[in-house]
Symmetry: C2
Subunit: 332 residues, 2 copies
């Protein structure tokens, strides 16, 4: 395994130490806990803080998104493992003097179980913490069963839009309401091209033939629509968008926010070519776009692949989307 | 070759179309030329514009760095090939009404030849254009022959600092003077870990054994110090910094700006671990750091590897380094 690391058992701690040192002006540990990373200069206690707990190995998400106009804290799990309920509770308790706390949970079994446990424990201590479950990956459950779908790259729209709204003094109820609307108007589909290597086991995360791609695979190799022969960008993008358009209704004049996410080893050159093909597809239907995100944000080590996420946006969402953030690794 | 592209001969144009569509609020083509990308809302004609011509395949550099406080234009060559002298001249002539124009040239044979030809042709037309040759890679020529060294990731310091200075109305002479000082105080060393694939030939860019790394290899596979067995991050970082410290003099109390650049497939997780080890090394010598850059900026397709660049900084450099920029893919 050709990874530049020190001891395997210290990967996450070494990474977090490097992160806090590199971005010392923006983030810090909630000392002495080295798995809770928080904003350095948080706003006053009237703000509703946004937290997320997630497994590491997918950087820059979520630690890179702590900052003004985005997340207030990240509870960091081991590689590809959700943090424990106790650790998430510790993150929630950090903000117990605030009028409310919102825990964002990407819909994966471990994250949901531990996150909901933490919320229950917080309620027992009379802390006003709520959870919002995020899902968007159309390959993981059929139309009509949206709430069984996995959280994919489209959860980014929720992070960013709620981050801006909470910075603008949105209360807990309005954050949850907006989060649900954004979620319900987001669709994501991904393609796996070649596997990354787990830094713990040293093994490939999934297997795929040299002339194949896998449409709809989840970020940890979970099942999706299935394998097919590799094709050119225009055809792959068109296949993916056909599936998304079958799943959700888009109309002439809609304004979408697109997100083309690279999963690790797919070059920016390719992501921009994919984006060009996406724009051509949308133009055929007279659908407009607004400030897309095109880069690597949610990775699985050095996997090659990408996802396309689309948010059917309102003017309020677009304003919140483009509001500035100081997060070290979010850049519109 | 598992790249998501359309026709090979259209790779660069498809990518540039995608880039200009994705960042329509910031950049545009200098129509009808589809290889000249410029800032959308340039400042008035009193500003000294900064241009660079470079081969593509290394994104986000340089197209991603066009914007307020960074570059004014990018003349885009084919994959791994410098743009022609004529094309660079066309870029220069775009700004002929300005009091001066600065062409930044990373020290690689083709870039220098074509860039200097363009400058000569511009002089023939009485345009006040000058070139600054940038070099920093200590593995490519010995101490004492600094001006024979290749341009590496440390050229980033020149781009960013001169971009800010020109935005602040610096004149051509002061830009060149500052560029030379920054260059003379910058050192870079890189490590290649595994090869990327050329999108044109479909072949690996270099060969390296499964248990080896190559210290000092250039971004196109050029020769450097040589191969050695892979080791842990702390030892590799320490070997690299020992070589940089042998080449240049650093003292107790110096404030360095570090840049850890990933070459494509090396994860942010690894880059942050490397940064942590770099900080530990510098701390031993009581050397301070200021706002480092840690991410993928100068890539060679999906190569794995990284470089460490260090700038021994003055207060003026630090102020210019941290000045805001609107470039789509530069984020401090």
């Amino acid at each position: 395994m050709k990874k530049i690391i020190n001891l395997k058992e210290n990967i996450v701690n070494d990474m977090l130490n490097g992160y806090v040192k590199a971005h010392y002006d923006k983030v810090k540990f909630f000392e002495p806990n080295k798995r809770l990373i928080i904003r350095k200069n948080p706003k006053n206690v009237s703000k509703i803080p946004l937290l997320i707990g997630n497994g590491s190995g997918h950087e820059p998400i979520a630690l890179g998104w702590i900052g003004e106009g985005l997340l207030d804290a990240n509870v960091v799990g081991d590689i590809f493992s959700a943090p424990s309920g106790d650790l998430i509770l510790e993150g929630i308790k950090l903000f117990k003097s605030h009028p409310g706390i919102l825990l964002l949970i990407s819909n994966h079994a471990g994250d949901v179980m531990n996150g909901e446990m933490a919320i229950e424990l917080a309620e027992d201590e009379n802390i006003n913490a709520k959870a919002l479950i995020m899902y968007d990956d159309i390959a993981s459950a059929p139309k009509g069963k949206e709430n069984e779908r996995r959280g994919g790259a489209g959860t980014t729209f929720i992070y960013k839009i709620l981050g801006a709204l909470s910075e603008n003094s949105g209360d807990l109820e309005s954050l949850i309401r907006m989060g649900e609307i954004v979620r319900d108007n987001t669709r994501t589909l991904s393609v796996a091209i070649s596997p990354g290597v787990s830094p713990i086991s040293g093994k490939k995360i999934f297997e795929i033939a040299d002339d194949e791609i896998f449409i709809g695979m989840g970020v940890h190799g979970e099942s999706g629509y299935g394998r097919q022969k590799i094709d050119n960008s225009r055809k792959i993008v068109s296949t993916m968008l056909d599936k998304i358009f079958d799943d959700f209704s888009y109309s002439n004049g809609d304004i979408l926010i697109p997100f083309v996410n690279g999963s690790g080893a797919t070059t920016l050159m390719e992501l921009l070519i994919i984006y060009n093909d996406l724009e051509e597809y949308l133009t055929k239907y007279n659908i407009k776009t607004y400030k897309p995100l095109v880069n690597e944000y949610i990775t699985t080590q050095e996997s090659a692949g990408f996802s396309i996420s689309l948010l059917k946006s309102t003017e309020e969402m677009r304003n919140l989307w483009s509001q500035k953030t100081s997060a070290p690794y979010f850049h519109l």
